[in-house]
Structure formats: structure tokens, C-alpha cells
Amino acid sequence: MTDLLFAVMVGGYAAGAAAAGVWGQERGGHTASAAGAIVGAIAGLLLGLSGSAGGAAHHWAALDVAAVAGGVVLRLDVLAAFFLVLIGVVAAPAVLYGAGYVAGYAGRYSLRGLGVALNLFLLATSLVPLAGNVMTFLLAWEGMSLASYFLVLTDHEDPETVRAGTWYLGMTQVGLAFLLGAFLFLGAAAPSLDFADLSAAAAELDPAARGLVFVLAVLGFGSKAGLVPLHVWLPRAHPAAPSHVSALMSGVMITLGIYGLLRVGFDVLGGGPAWWGALLIGLGAASALVGVLYALMEDDIKRLLAYSTVENAGLITLGVGAGFLFQALDLPRAAALAVAAALYHALNHAAFKGLLFLGAGSILHATGTRNMNRYGGLIRRMPWTAPCMLLGTVAIAGLPPLNGFMSEWLLFQALLPGVAVASPVVAVLMVLALGVLALTAGLAAAAFAKAFGISFLALPRSDAAAAAHEASVTMRAGMVALAAACVLLAAGALPALAAAGAVASTLVGLAPHPPTFALWLSFQTPAGLARMSPPAVIAGLAVGLGLVWLLVRAVSSRRPVRLAATWGCGRVGQSPRMEYTATAFAEPLRRVFSAIYRPTEDVTVDHHPESRYFVQAIAYRARLLPWFEHYLYEPVLGRVRRWGRRTLLLQSGSIHAYLAYVVGALVLLLGALLVSGAP
């Protein structure tokens, strides 16, 4: 069964890529390519589900062929299975959505390239968690990065997109360099580069080397997960990519960075000292706060979502970090809880962020702009997209009764045992982490009230928004599927959490059973007992809503609801220019956090030529200080460029000089051999 599902998954993606490659420019080929990808995604999902039942890791021996660097080794264990499920949950709806979405690209860009790259991206992404050795892992990882780079470049006529692609490629290759370093240190002492052998060898390494490997892995995987300060590519690349690709990159690809952290940190290195956890908690908290603060200020809907991805990656990392910390403090149950919370949040984030990117794509498709200040009133014009987006918004804002709340609740509970730890340093760290978590949750609610409220409600702020239309059937189906996934993940929090718990228990070295997740989703934490029941909360709210509606209907007046103009203190006409804009909505928080944002505002008032008392137009521009670009990337890139120019001196263009280099190099080499005394 496992073999069959695996074959169908790979076959589906391969067939999809082939169909796109051969008949990509025709409608049929385009549909066939999407169909192949959907088959592949569903097979991957089922493969993950079959693998998460536990048991020994499944190993495809038939594939251990090419002997290069250990060959291709694929292995399905519970951790890999969990991430396969996560990939499948987003991939199938996103591809379905994409089938309709790319129609907008027809004639302008190559659908052939897009279809091939998308299928290869999904294939490589699915192989990343399955990889059993370094060679396979790096192949899949690079395949994923390169395919997604080409996907980002779909709209390549826009110079902005090309710049975004370059940032992305640069960051991902820097990340790869760190990963190579980590694997080199690990592999130096190991008999082979298989993860199992690496794990055995890692136990023998001295603590400093293990620490170095961990830091390199954090840098490498953190660049993929979008942790600060390596997050700069997200708000550039995600908006540039086609929306279903953004959904996949944001919902799926960044969580593979988390997968890498778990695989290397727990599975290979087997956990480490407390500072590992503290490092991740610090990075996670910083990413969560920076992400949400910048999301709040964004007027570009896809950039807002991209920053919110940084925030959520931070929250997940916070959970993982707590897992490392608790394991180091010898609290394996608390560690399992923290990692389970992080995994569950990763799954939830995949569902709702995928949904939100698809919804943003529908709006972009309908209005042709990503600027929320040009949206408005879409709730009437997009009767399918609006409820789906509202659901996604409530979920991502961490509000009950949806899945975002369930996992944020768990994250809170996961941090709570840390406050009770005897060490004051840990307790203070945890309290601050809790404060950051709560602040992040509050700010995320504000950010998404803005995102939904400004985009969908009130009057349309532009002609494009007024002429907006609902998305096509396949696009709607994709959104509805992910919305359903959000509801199911909330209602089915217990099984989902049991699966995440099983993975987490295995990782932290407990017996692979979920950490007492009973009927009420109650579990024993070292500090005591906290209980919450997702099904009861959902049912209670649903029943309550119905009851209140019936009661109000019964006791209130029978008069029909009358429609009247919006009350505006008697002003004569209402125009969209009176509405709050996205910028205005976030203004109070911009002032509150001005120490962080360092906003520069300029206001230009255009007076009437006859009199200064009549204002014709007011232009308001606010810019935030891009800290990371300004203080980190620009100096570093500037230095790199200067060094590059200096090395240019070597390349004089004179053949004599080059011959001289060759001779010089030869002499040096011979000299070195003479000195070292080699034969």
C-alpha cells in the first residue's frame, strides 16, 4: 500500500510535469498538468496519513541505487508523514485553485514553464521530509528552492518580480551554504551520510562542535522558515509569485524549515543544552513580533500575509524552542507538549495561510491590484471569497472557535510549565515569551481586522473594486476546500493533536504515544492541569448563535428592517474617500510603536490658487525605517560588492598575466608538497 501510494504520488507529479511540458500551451495539457499534480498531492496526503499510524519507518530499499554519496535513500517515519499530510492539505486545493487562476496568465506568460515548475516543486517538496540521507535531502531541498525560484519569476516582465526573485535566490543559497557547513561538520566523523549514521556519530561529537552544527542548522533552516533577520525575502517573493504558489510557499515551504530544525535538532543531534532552546525562543519571539508589527503596517495584501507568515513561523519556532529547552531541563512531557503545539500550529498555519493567499489571489484577479486602499465593498461582489476569507481571518487572528485559536491555546499551555521551572532565568524568559505571544495575538487580531475590514467592507474605494467579480469555479473550490480544512482541523483538534503528539513524543524520546490527550483535550502538564474542549467550544458557540437568533426573533419587534443612508452626522453625501483606509486604520499603532517603526511622514497640502483656505488635495506619505535592510543587508552587501570590485583587478584581460597566475599557482603547489614531504 505504502509503495503504491508513493508510486502514485511521484507518478502523478511526474505525469503532471510531462503533460505541462508537452502540451503546456494548450488548454487540455494545462488541465492534465493540474490533474496530475492533484493526484500526486492526494496520494502524498494519503501516504502521510498511512505513515502517521506509527510503526517502524518505511524504507524504500529499491531506490538505494546510485552509489554516489550514499545514493538516494527515502524513508517514511512519523515526522515525515506529518509533513507529508501538511503538504497534501495545502497542495491539492492550491493546485485546483491554480488551474483556474493561471488562465489569467494565458497568452502573456508560458503556462508550460509554470506547469512543469509547479509539479517539480511539489515533487521535490514532498521528497524533502522523506529524504533519509544528506545527499537525497540536499537534492530535494535544492529542487524545491530552484523550482520555487522559477515559480516566483512567473511574472518576469515586472522588474520588481525579478528583483524579488534575486533576493529569494540569494537568501536561499546563503541558507544552503550554512546547511552544507552543518552537514560537513556532522559527516566528518560518520561512516556514511545517512541520517541514522549521522545521529550515531553526532553523539560522539564534542559539545562545541554540536553547538556549531546546531547554530549552522538554525541559520540554514531559519532562512527558509523566514526567521528574523533572514526573513527579508518573504515579503518580496511571496507577493511576486502567483497566488497559489504563494500559498504553497507560505503554507508549506517555510514549514519545511521547521521540519529541518526538528530533524537535525532532535532526530540527528538528539537535543542539546538549554541555550539551544533559549536561542530558538528568542528568534521565535523576535520573528513573531517583527512579523506582526510589519504586517500591521502593510497596505499590500500579499505583503501583509507574507509578514504574517514571518509571525507564524516565529510562533512555531517558539514552540520548538520550548521543546528543546524543556528537554534540556529534563521535562520530556512538557517538551513533547511544546513540540506537539508547534507541529499542530504549523499544520493550522498551512491551512489558513493557504486559504488567505488563495483569497488574496482572487481579489488580485478581480481588481488587478494588491493595494488594500483600492479595495472595499468586495463582500457584495465576491459572495464566495468573502466568507472564506472571513473564516481564514478569524482563524489566523487566533480567535475561537477556529483552528488558529486551538493551536495558540496549546502554545500558551506549552510555555506555562516553563514559568514554574525553578531557574529564575528560564522563568523570566518564559514570562517574556508569554507576553510576546499575547501581544502578537492581539496585534494579529488588529492586523486582520484591518485586512478583512478594509478589503471587503464599506464602499469600493476604486473603480476596479467596484467592477470586481467573483472567482471562477475551480478557484472557489480551492478556497472552500481550505476553509473546510480550517474547520475540520478545529473540530478534529483531538485526532490532529494526537498525531502531532505522537510525532513530538518520538522526537523527544518518549514512548510514541500522545501525551495524555484525553476526551476533553486535557493533558497533564508538570505544573498541573489545564483543560479545553475544542468540539464543545465550537458546538457551544454554534448552538448559542442559533438560540440567540431564535430568541431575539421571538421577542423583538415584527417591523421589517428599514434601509437608510449611513449616519454621518448629517453630511450630505457619502463617498469612499470618507472611509477609513488601511493606512488610517493602523495609524494609532504606528504612533504607539513609533520607536520601532521610526516612521517618516510627509504631508503635502495643495491649496486652491485663489485662497489658502480651500484645499484641493492632500498627499500623505509615510515610510517606515526598514531596519534589517538598512542596518544589516545594505552594509553587508556593500562590503561584498567592494570586495568583488577589488578581486576584479586580478582579471586584467592580459593572457600574460593569466599565464603568470598558472605558473605561480604551480610553484606554490610544488613548494607546499616539498614542505609537507609528500612523495
Binding site: 479545553m532 419587534s557 428592517v561
Partner: protein
């Protein structure tokens, strides 16, 4: 207690809360009127207001969508749902396993969120202003609530309300410990901010530019307004109940005997009255803060909550 009687108790507690909430607003108004040397409206005035609003016509803006009509129900339901989880009269709570403090806080945030969206929906500038300010205050209040509550949870070893009350009842002297007092102060400040009381928001203002909560509901009328006003009263009651019974659980029944329950009801109402008096005196004494001074107040609350958790940590 048996499961059945427990659930009856939970339902009775929730009904009690629903019934008492408007009266709480009436009491605060009456007390404030007395302090302004006025006779004031009777304590039961808000009930009459609600009845009238239910009977009146409902006017909805032509620009408003279905969300505007859905929001009052969501706001009311989410706030009313909280009352099932509160330790009002007796512990252990039968619905304790359903939700804890975090569920309470986030259900209230759900109501705020929908109200903010409803404020934006008709497209009026005031609605947007109110929504933006309300979300700002809510976001900044969130960390103080969380940390203050974890200071309590740390002592009780649980975030479930019933457990916290049970623990506090087992050690009544804790009510005057520094950790509790600091957390109480932090939560009191948050209560004022979250429920739109002075000095954060003036519930009696008629000036749109200074409004927070009121600006979002300017557009509501009839039964929708009734639901929102009732929910607002209920939210105040929820915070008062948390302040009263988590920090000073004296009087909360541990058995279901009629005597114990009666005593619990009497002490509960008395505690609410004391808190209402405190708010009324406070509101008479202070002026409204400028909007951009509110974050300072909330950061004071956050620091108090941090100190509270430190104190509970040290005194464990």
C-alpha cells in the same frame, strides 16, 4: 456534585449573569448620578432600555452587508458563552473542562473583533475610527491580561477557572499577598480599558471624535443595538466576576446546598456592588486620557502584571 446538578448550576449561573448584567450598568450610572448630586435613573433603567430597543424598528445602512447583521449575534453569543465558564456561585465548575481563562479572554476578543468589523462595514468615518481605536486598545491590553492571569495560574497550577478559585479558597490569606494584589491592579486597569470605561473611553460621551466603543455602534439601532448593549454590560460583568471571584473567592459555594448557594449569591452581588462603587468613584474622580496616553496606562498595567508573576514566582 453530580453531573446533572452541575450542568443545571452552570446554566443557572449563566442565566444569573445575563439577568444581572444590565443592572450592573444601571448601578454604576445611579452611583455616578448620586455623586453628581443628581437623583439619577433607577438601577433597573437599562432593562427598560433593552425592552424598548427590542420593540423598536431596526434601521440598517444601505452600504452595510450581511456581516453588519451577523455581528451583533456573534458579539452577544461569544460574550454570553463566557458566562457558562465563569466561577459565579459554586466550584468545582461542571464546564471547567470545556474552557479556561484563555478561552474566556479570546471569546471576548472574538466579540471585539466582530464589532470592529461591523464598525467598518457601513463605511462611515466614525465607525472606522472606533474600529481602529478599539483594536489598538484590545491588542495592547492583551499581554497584560495574559501575564496577570498566568500569575494566578502559576499559583494554582492550572489556567482553569474552577481550579484557580479552589486553590484560592484553600489558601484565603493569598488574597492579600503582593502577587495577587499586583495582578488584581493590573487586571482592574485592563477591565477599565476593555469595557470602555474612563479614563480610556467615556461611555456617556456625545462627541464622536473622542469615542472608541460608542463610535463603532453609532450605526446600530433596534434589536441589534439591544444585543450589543447587553453584550457590553455582560462583558463588564465578566471582568467584574473575574476580579471578584478569582482574587477574593470568599463566599463561593463548594456544595450545592440551598444555604451555601444563597450565601454565594448574596456575597457575589455584594462584591459586584463594591466593584461598581469603585468604578463609579474612579470615574467621578478621573478625566478621560488622550488616546495616545492610553498605551502608557496599559504598559503600567503590563509592568504590574510582570511584577505580579515575579512575586508569585518568589513566594511559591
Amino acid at each position: 456534585m453530580t453531573a446533572a446538578s452541575g450542568h443545571v448550576l452552570a446554566a443557572a449561573q449563566a442565566l444569573l449573569c445575563l439577568a444581572v448584567a444590565p443592572g450592573l450598568i444601571g448601578l454604576i450610572r445611579w452611583l455616578k448620578a448620586r455623586m453628581q448630586n443628581r437623583r439619577g435613573s433607577p438601577v433597573w433603567q437599562p432593562y427598560l432600555d433593552l425592552r424598548k430597543l427590542l420593540a423598536k424598528e431596526t434601521v440598517v445602512s444601505v452600504n452595510a452587508s450581511w456581516l453588519f447583521r451577523l455581528a451583533p449575534y456573534v458579539v452577544f453569543t461569544s460574550t454570553a458563552a463566557v458566562t457558562f465558564l465563569l466561577p459565579v456561585l459554586a466550584v468545582p465548575l461542571p464546564l471547567d473542562p470545556v474552557g479556561d481563562l484563555l478561552v474566556v479572554v479570546y471569546l471576548l476578543l472574538l466579540g471585539t473583533f466582530f464589532l470592529a468589523l461591523a464598525g467598518l462595514d457601513p463605511g462611515s468615518a466614525f465607525g472606522g475610527m472606533g474600529a481602529s481605536r478599539e483594536m489598538t486598545v484590545a491588542a495592547l491590553a492583551e499581554p497584560s491580561i495574559a501575564v496577570a492571569m498566568f500569575a494566578l495560574a502559576l499559583g494554582a497550577g492550572s489556567t482553569n477557572l474552577g481550579e484557580i478559585v479552589a486553590r484560592a479558597m484553600a489558601r484565603p490569606a493569598d488574597a492579600v499577598s503582593p502577587g495577587y494584589l499586583l495582578a488584581f491592579t493590573a487586571l482592574f486597569i485592563v477591565t477599565l480599558a476593555e469595557t470602555g470605561r474612563l479614563p480610556v473611553d467615556n461611555p456617556a460621551t456625545h462627541l464622536e471624535l473622542t469615542m472608541i466603543h460608542e463610535a463603532m455602534v453609532l450605526e446600530y439601532s433596534g434589536r441589534y443595538l439591544a444585543l450589543i448593549e447587553w453584550a457590553a454590560a455582560l462583558k463588564l460583568l465578566v471582568f467584574f466576576t473575574l476580579l471578584a471571584n478569582l482574587f477574593v473567592p470568599w463566599g463561593v459555594a463548594t456544595t450545592l446546598g440551598p444555604g451555601a448557594l444563597l450565601l454565594a449569591a448574596v456575597t457575589y452581588v455584594a462584591k459586584l456592588a463594591v466593584l461598581a462603587a469603585a468604578v463609579a468613584v474612579f470615574e467621578t474622580r478621573v478625566a478621560k486620557l488622550r488616546l495616545f496616553r492610553v498605551p502608557e496606562l496599559l504598559s503600567v498595567s503590563f509592568v504590574l502584571a510582570l511584577l505580579a508573576i515575579t512575586a508569585s514566582f518568589l513566594s511559591r
